[in-house]
C-alpha cells in the first residue's frame, strides 16, 4: 500500500480540459494519464500552445479539469494547497513588497501557528538557500531577472511543499543565468527531496534536470505523446554530460519527437 502510494504520488486520470471562451469552446487537453513518483523530477515539454502550462495549472489546482480526476498524495486536488507550491513563469513577485516580505507572505500563511521569530527564521533560511541574503530588503524592481526568479523559488520552497510546480521558470532569463539557476535548482532539489513538475520548452533543460521527460503532442486536444526515462546518474554535471553518449542520445530523442514526429506546422 505504502509502495503503491509512493509510485503514484501525483496522479492524473483521463484528464480532459475544455475552455469555454467567447470565440467558442476550445479543447486543450484530451485523455492525459500520468503517474508521478514521490521525489521524482518530471519535465513536461512541447511546442508552445500545446497546453503544458494547463497541465501544471491543473496540478496546482488553479484550474479544474472538465473531465477526469487529479490526485496528490492520495487525495483529490480540489484547489490550490500549500503542499503544492508554484514557481511562476514571470516570477509574479509583488512589486510593493521587499524580497523578504514576498517570501514572508507565503510562510506566514502556511505556518500560521508559529511565532513571528520562527516565521522570520524560515524566511531568512529560504532566501539564504537561493543565495540572496544580501538583497532580502530590496524590492523586485531593484534586482535582476535571475534574482527575481530566485526569490520566486525561495517563496515556493519556504512553504515546504511536497510538490514543486515550475512553469517555465527560466524561460525569460539569459542563457548563462539560466544555466546557473538550473545547477542550483538541481542542488536544492537533491537536498529537499521533494517531487517536482517543470514545464519547459528547452530540450537541454528537460534532459539535464529530469528523471522523466513527458513529451506532449500539439494542440488542440493535446495529449502525452511519449515519456522518456532519463537514467543518468546524479549529481549531474553539465560539462561532463555535454560529451556523454547517453545524454546526447536522450537529447536527440526529444528533438526527434519535437521536430520530426510532432513538428509544429507553420509556426
Amino acid at each position: 500500500m505504502e509502495k503503491a502510494n509512493a509510485d503514484k504520488y501525483v496522479q492524473l486520470e483521463h484528464v480532459d480540459m475544455t475552455f469555454h471562451t467567447k470565440k467558442g469552446t476550445f479543447n486543450a487537453l484530451k485523455g492525459i494519464n500520468l503517474n508521478i513518483k514521490e521525489g521524482e523530477f518530471i519535465s513536461i515539454i512541447g511546442h508552445s500552445g500545446c497546453g503544458k502550462s494547463t497541465v501544471l495549472n491543473l496540478i496546482a489546482g488553479l484550474l479544474q479539469p472538465s473531465e477526469g480526476l487529479l490526485f496528490c498524495a492520495g487525495r483529490e486536488i480540489a484547489g490550490p494547497g500549500p503542499e503544492r507550491a508554484v514557481v511562476f513563469q514571470n516570477h509574479s513577485l509583488l512589486p510593493w513588497l521587499t524580497c523578504f516580505e514576498n517570501v514572508y507572505l507565503a510562510v506566514e500563511r502556511v505556518f500560521s501557528t508559529e511565532t513571528k521569530a520562527q516565521l522570520e527564521a524560515r524566511t531568512h533560511a529560504a532566501i539564504e538557500l537561493v543565495g540572496l541574503s544580501h538583497s532580502s530588503d530590496k524590492r523586485p524592481n531593484e534586482i535582476s531577472g535571475g534574482m527575481k526568479q530566485r526569490v520566486g523559488i525561495a517563496r515556493a520552497l519556504a512553504m515546504e511543499p511536497k510538490v514543486l510546480l515550475l512553469d517555465e521558470p527560466f524561460g525569460a532569463l539569459d542563457a548563462l543565468t539560466r544555466a546557473n539557476l538550473q545547477d542550483e535548482l538541481m542542488k536544492i532539489m537533491a537536498k529537499s527531496g521533494c517531487t517536482a513538475v517543470m514545464v519547459t520548452h528547452d530540450v537541454d533543460e528537460a534532459v539535464l534536470l529530469s528523471d522523466r521527460v513527458v513529451m506532449m503532442t500539439n494542440g488542440p486536444s493535446a495529449t502525452i505523446g511519449e515519456i522518456l526515462e532519463v537514467n543518468l546518474p546524479r549529481p549531474r554535471a553539465r560539462l561532463e554530460l555535454a560529451e556523454d553518449k547517453e545524454y546526447n542520445h536522450l537529447r536527440s530523442e526529444v528533438l526527434r519527437f519535437l521536430y520530426e514526429r510532432h513538428a509544429k506546422k507553420s509556426a
Partner: protein, 278 residues
C-alpha cells in the same frame, strides 16, 4: 578609426560648454515663456474688453482692489460681512467634510464593487443613472432632509465627489493582474491579506486619480452650491458682491477659486506621487 573619432571630438570640446549653456537657456525660456505669454494675453484681452465696457473693471483697478482686500483678509463685521480669508476657509471646510465623507464611503464601496461581480452588476445601473445628474439637483433633497443650508451644501459636495472615487477604485480593482490573484490563490491568502497586500497597493494609484478628480469636481460645485445656500463661503461672497455690484471683488473671487483649486490639485498630485510604489 579610433584616432579619427578622438580628433573629431577634441576640437568641439571647447565649444561644448558654451553651446550647452545656450541650449539650457533656450530650454528654460521655451519652458517658461509660453505660460507667461498666455497669462499676459489673458490680461491684455481683459483690459481691451474692459475698455469697451465701462461696467467691467480693468486689471489695474481690480489689482488695487485686491491689494486692499487682502490687506485684511480676516476681519469680521457680523454674519454677512466677513473677510475673504474667512470665506475661503468656510468653503474649504465644507469641501473637506463632503469630500472626506465621500472618500470614506466611495473608496470601500469601489473595492467591493471591483471585487464582486454580482455587486458590480447590481450597482452598475444605479451608478449610471445617478452619475450624470448635476450635483446641484440634489440640493433641494439635501435641504428637505437636513432642514439646514450647511449640511445640504456638504451633501451636494459629497454626491459630486463620491462617483469618481467609486468608479476609479472599482476600475483599479478590476485591473489587478491575474498573476497576482494566482499568487494569492496558490499561497491561499485570506481575503484580508488579499485586500491589504495585493489589492490596496495595486489600486492606490487608481484611487488617487479618483481622489484628484473628486476634489476638482467638489471645488467646482462648492461655488454654485454656496450661491444657493448663502451664509459664509466663497460662492456666497460672489453672489453678495454681485448684489452690491462690486464687480472687482467678483473677478478677484474667480482668481481665488482658480488658485485654490490649482493648489488642491497640486497637493494631491504630490501625495499621489509619494504613495506610488514604482
Amino acid at each position: 578609426m579610433t584616432n579619427t573619432t578622438v580628433n573629431k571630438i577634441m576640437p568641439t570640446a571647447k565649444s561644448f560648454s558654451l553651446s550647452s549653456l545656450n541650449t539650457q537657456a533656450y530650454r528654460f525660456f521655451r519652458w517658461v515663456l509660453p505660460p507667461i505669454f498666455g497669462l499676459f494675453l489673458l490680461v491684455v484681452i481683459w483690459a481691451l474688453i474692459s475698455e469697451k465696457t465701462p461696467e467691467l473693471p480693468g486689471p489695474i483697478k481690480t489689482w488695487a482692489s485686491a491689494v486692499e482686500l487682502f490687506s485684511d483678509p480676516f476681519y469680521d463685521h457680523g454674519i454677512n460681512d466677513k473677510g475673504v480669508g474667512w470665506n475661503i476657509l468656510a468653503s474649504l471646510q465644507r469641501v473637506g467634510l463632503g469630500f472626506g465623507l465621500a472618500a470614506l464611503i466611495g473608496i470601500p464601496l469601489g473595492f467591493i464593487i471591483g471585487r464582486f461581480e454580482f455587486i458590480s452588476r447590481m450597482t452598475a445601473p444605479v451608478i449610471s443613472l445617478l452619475r450624470p445628474v448635476s450635483p446641484l439637483a440634489w440640493l433641494p433633497i439635501g435641504l428637505l432632509v437636513f432642514k439646514a443650508a450647511n449640511p445640504a451644501a456638504i451633501w451636494v459636495i459629497f454626491i459630486s465627489a463620491v462617483w469618481p472615487m467609486i468608479i476609479n477604485t472599482a476600475v483599479g480593482v478590476g485591473k489587478v493582474p491575474q498573476d497576482y490573484m494566482n499568487v494569492a490563490k496558490v499561497l491561499n491568502l485570506s481575503e484580508w491579506k488579499i485586500v491589504t497586500k495585493i489589492l490596496f497597493p495595486f489600486v492606490l494609484p487608481y484611487m488617487m486619480t479618483g481622489v484628484r478628480l473628486s476634489i476638482g469636481v467638489a471645488w467646482l460645485v462648492i461655488v454654485a452650491a454656496e450661491m444657493l445656500t448663502g451664509g459664509v463661503g466663497i460662492g456666497f461672497w460672489v453672489w453678495d458682491e454681485w448684489n452690491n455690484l462690486n464687480v472687482e471683488h467678483i473677478i478677484i473671487a474667480i482668481f481665488v477659486v482658480g488658485i485654490v483649486g490649482l493648489l488642491l490639485e497640486l497637493i494631491l498630485t504630490q501625495i499621489a506621487k509619494r504613495f506610488s510604489y514604482e
